[in-house]
Amino acid sequence: MAADSKSSKQKHDRKQKRKKQSNPHKYSVISNYIYATKLYHDGVGKKYHLHDLLAILFGVASPFIAMAFPSFAVAQLQSDRAHETIFIFIIGYVLILKGLSVATAYIGNVQVMDYFLGRITTASPMRRHILEMNFEALERKEGQEKVRAADECVFHGNEHGIEAFLSAFPKVVLNVLGFLLYSLIVIKISPWLFVFMFVTAIVFSALSLIQGNYWNKMYKSMHVLYMRRKKSFHETMTVDARGDIILYQMKDWLCEKLNAVAKAYADVYRKYFRLETSTNLIILLINALRDGAVYFILIRQMTLGQIGISELLLMVGVVAGYSAWMQQLFVAVQQIAANAYTVSQYRDFLAYGNEPENSITQLSLEKGQHEIKLENVSFRYDGAEQDVLTDINLTIRPGEKVALVGANGAGKTTLVKLISGLYAPTRGRITIDGIDMTQISREQYYKAFSVVFQDLKIYAATVAQNVSCSLEPDREKVVESLKKAGLWEKIASLSSGIDADMTHHLSENGVLLSGGETQKLMLARALYQDAPILILDEPTAALDPIAESEMYETYSTFSLDKTSLFISHRLSSTRFCDRVCFMKSGQLTEIGTHEDLISLSGDYAQMFNIQAQYYKEEFESNREVSAYEPLAVL
């Protein structure tokens, strides 16, 4: 009981902490406006405010002048002015009208560029943050969700996110001004009509509000569908799946899956289209009723001699354009409301998962040998029920080579992530030469490590950049590393050598490497960095026995003066390590030299013997194998 309440309290505390760290709801619309404006101001320059201003000016004037034209023209033609004067007035009016509409379109075009440029600018801090933030925070579900939300703010086109948010503000001003102007005209001619118009405008706006809300809701709900669709499409043509699809004749099954997603999409859209169509029909009907009423009232007023034809025409124009102002105003307000949250999410993401400020920023981990000490280290994923690693105690002495072995899922890879600084321990501490790792800045800390992970990443950059991991590689060192890694022959045969582009992502003729060659490139990367601590996670899985043996030897020489940690399913790799650590269910159960552990006859010895038996001369049948009791496999 006591333990339970303690752990739930812990959970509660953690939740509290997270809440404090990040809460996208804490940003107000005004604060988002100021924030976004500043971003755009810095990215686009002062001119963008001027463009907004001009857009408002033209945006009000242009439709007004156009609307008033028939009234103006008829008034002129009815007047007893000379023909020349009438001609000049009307043609002049047409010129102003044209000029304004061109100016409106032109400034609109300039604004598109402004807002686009601004949006691109906002991508930059986000990119940097993804690259530099705490890895564990990035990796966890919450972090992934935040990345997605920030992405939505920046990269989902100009009708979504920060661009839609910010560009709605001048629209609000524009439509308020237009609405006021038209209202004044209506009130002047018929206050009665004004009340009527105002009501229909409200109804229209409410309808478009409903429609817009539905769209936003739908847009959000479609995310899951989108992911499903993306995955389903991806797998039909992915290289890895190709053989399986043909041999198992999966075409029909996979198409059925695609059709199911397509149908789900169609259903969602049909609902929306239905709403949209009924809204449009209602608006059409109200419009017709309104126009009928307006004509009736105006013609009556004319019969009574209260207004002339040019007033009537002006009113007809005002009525036709009236509700548009309010509708657009609502759309703009809604645009702000719908997108303010994405800006909040963007800001929230930038505030989330920052690496802590460290007191020690300079640590001479660059050269020499180092001691790594784990003291009661436990690790638990955020929100998980139980520890992945429990109370690990281990000291890796300067220059020592340690092999880490154990069944799949025993926690080896998590331990590597902890030691290499990607994760911080949930409890306990890790020290390097006696200094707590959390006190060392990440940048400095990572510099001490060369790590080859299981997932081998090669990027669409040059060979030299992929080896050096930097923009300006030391070319001699690149060549030297490639030579040592046994990949030089292959690279030298390329026409552009180490400047050749890699992968087919961006270059049709990019270099593609086989599994074994990729491993060698990773080795070259490690050689280039020549960091004092070396960690290898399953470096030989894809290699044939001879290449594997060679790889062991290369690493063995290379790691002579280094502190190193090897993880491999090939227990043979333990033979050139000073000590072996055996992991089981998140705990270090056996530590010692290979010989020690064999004579201990524990889990390690059992595992080693299972593998070794096949290589023994006396191996006859697999009956012996059947005798083994499965451990905690998987």
Binding site: I91, R128, F135, W253, A266, L284, H569, L571
Partner: protein, 615 residues
């Protein structure tokens, strides 16, 4: 002639593509036709009736004015309502079109030869087709552009009718410069001249701007692709986050993205400048045209040839005409561009598979007596200058357990791919029970093999569906196969058991570890219950215990069947009676383990490289 030819070609291609549309959705084209007619009619209805209303009001015939206003409102309501309903249908069809087209492409893609993936011409064709289908709105955009073309054509024709009526109107007075201008012939000639001049201008401009736009669009595509890669494939790839941090690659990644965005900026700017120029030049041209038309409309009004109310009607019609004719030119060139872009799509969909498929059925044998033999088989990848497999002769004997070993690149996997007919030999042939395998029906031949590839793939569906590769699976059989593959104990711990969904982005889906995935793909091979079982590196991702477990179960799994086992773990050779040793594309040695060890050749070297550590 040349222009006529290109016009003909464009629309020939256009209609070819519209046929694809018709094939996917019969209703879409008729719906668009109706929409075009209705939307063309709307502005003219308003113009004509407004003119009538104004004229009646000017003559103080208020009843008549009200009557016309009423008819106008009712007509607009009916047309608008009809169009709203048509649009409701059209939008759904349009969305369906895009979805179904993408599915059609993928379906076709799955039917293509296996080796399209090795970057051959067929894969390029697929990629081009997909890009064509997605970029620029795809096939749906072609339909709308054709609709626009029709709409503008209709609108222009209607406007011409109005113009003719306008020109023919005769002034009340016959003296003075105004009367001359209002003369039908003078009006007609001047308006036609103005229109032709304007057309020439806009055409010239539109061709120039179009050329710039097209050049930009092409570059734009490349740039988007580059930025898309760095953001989508690198920045958002969480696994990359480890490599980036530990190797300090932030600078490299960030600067690369910066570089591409900086390269892209002038492009986006030039897109903006180009459309800005278009706005200005179109504005200028339409301004000039407006002045001329308004001048003549005014002349006709003041000379009494037409009424005051008709001023807005004719001015409006001219405006419609101007818009329609300039947009007509634009839509025509847009159709031209779209058909060019979409042509790879049509080509791709009409593509014929290169793989020869025979008609012979496979004899179904309950005793699984099948025998496969390689006769002097060589294989060379397209574009390569040397054989991957070189004159290979081998007989795969019945119910044998065959191991295939060799160094990386020795030809093991190619051998398997030839065996299961993912590739056809460049030279030589392969027989099944004495008959060339190409003479058998392809799908039936494939049904002989249960294969677990090194890079096996599991799909976003339930575990059971993944094993049975269909929606209606036999649950008992699925369970039995999971048991045999040694993963049932794991699957039973899951809440939904065999119905658990594998990674598809939804909340309750699970991610499998490499070892679990590998075992499930073994279960898939077992479910197929084919006479040949082929395992390509099935234990690469497994720890020693799971590996031993697979070895142990191997006998049971392949009982009664012929099996081929490829592995770098030499230990696997211990339970195969027959070992094929590949080197440089040929079979160097063949025999049992002891014999090969005694040979002290390739096999012995491979064996010892691993065995030394266990000595």
């Amino acid at each position: 002639m040349n222009r006529w030819q290109s016009f003909k070609n464009t629309h020939k291609a256009g209609f070819r593509l519209l046929k694809v549309v018709k094939q996917i959705d019969r209703d879409l084209i008729p719906l668009n036709l109706i929409d075009a007619v209705l939307t063309t009619a709307l502005p003219y209805v308003a113009l004509v009736f407004t003119a009538q209303v104004i004229d009646r009001l000017l003559t103080t015939d208020y009843n008549r004015a009200g009557y016309y206003a009423g008819i106008m409102i009712a007509t607009l309501l009916i047309i608008g309502g009809l169009d709203a309903i048509i649009l409701y249908k059209t939008k759904q069809s349009q969305r369906g079109l895009q979805n179904n087209l993408e599915i059609l492409i993928r379906k076709k893609g799955m039917e293509l030869e296996y080796d399209v993936i090795s970057d051959s011409e067929a894969l390029k064709a697929l990629r081009n087709a997909e890009e064509a289908a997605k970029f620029n709105g795809g096939l749906g955009h072609l339909v709308t552009t054709y609709k626009d073309l029709l709409k503008y054509l209709l609108s222009a024709v209607t406007a011409v009718v109005f113009s003719v009526i306008f020109c023919l109107s005769v002034p009340n007075t016959s003296t003075g410069i105004l009367a001359i201008m209002a003369n039908p012939i003078v009006t007609g000639i001047t308006l036609i001249t103005a229109w032709l001049l304007g057309l020439q201008m806009s055409k010239h401009q539109s061709i120039k701007i179009k050329a710039i736009d097209d050049a930009i669009a092409e570059k734009h595509y490349i740039v988007e692709n580059q930025i898309g890669y760095w953001i989508g494939e690198v920045l958002y790839d969480t696994e990359s986050g480890k490599t980036i941090r530990v190797n300090g690659m932030q600078e490299l990644i960030d600067k690369n993205m910066d570089k591409f965005i900086k390269e892209a900026m002038p492009l986006y700017e030039s897109m903006g400048i180009s459309s800005g120029k278009r706005i200005l030049s179109e504005g200028l041209e339409s301004g000039l045209f407006s002045i001329v038309t308004y001048l003549f409309v005014l002349v006709k009004v003041v000379t009494g040839a037409i009424s005051i109310g008709a001023l807005t009607q004719y001015a409006g019609a001219f405006l419609q005409f101007h818009q329609a004719s300039s947009k007509l030119v634009w839509s025509e060139s847009e159709v031209n561009r779209l058909t060019k872009n979409l042509l790879p799509l049509a080509d791709y969909l009409e593509r014929v598979n290169k793989r020869y498929t025979g008609t012979l059925p496979i004899e179904k044998r309950t005793d699984n007596i099948y025998e496969i033999e390689f006769h002097d088989v060589s294989f060379r990848y397209p574009g390569s200058d040397k054989d991957t497999l070189h004159h290979v002769n081998a007989k795969i004997t019945l119910k044998n357990k065959l191991a295939v070993v060799g160094r990386n690149g020795a030809g093991k996997t190619t051998f398997i791919k030839l065996l299961v007919r993912l590739y056809d030999p460049t030279e030589g042939y392969i027989t099944l029970n004495g008959i060339d395998i190409r003479k058998y029906n392809y799908e039936e031949y494939l049904s002989l093999f249960g294969v677990v590839f090194q890079d096996f793939y599991l799909f976003s569906a339930s575990i059971a569906e993944n094993i049975a590769v269909r929606k209606d699976y036999d649950a008992e059989k699925v369970t039995a196969c999971l048991e045999k593959a040694g993963v049932l104990s794991f699957v039973s711990t899951l809440d939904k058991g065999i119905e658990t969904v594998i990674e598809n982005g939804t909340e309750d889906a699970i991610d499998l570890s490499g070892g679990q995935g590998q075992k499930i793909s073994i279960a898939r091979a077992l479910y197929k219950d084919a006479p040949f079982v082929i395992l390509d590196e099935p234990t690469a991702a497994l720890d020693p215990l799971s590996e031993a477990e697979i070895y142990e179960r191997f006998d049971e799994m392949v009982a009664d069947k012929t099996s081929v086992y490829i592995s770098h773990r030499m230990s696997s050779c211990r339970f195969c009676q027959d070992i094929l040793v590949f080197e440089n594309g040929t079979i160097k040695e063949r025999g049992a383990h002891e014999l090969l060890l005694k040979n002290e050749s390739v096999y012995a070297a491979l064996w010892n490289a691993q065995a030394q550590y266990y000595a």
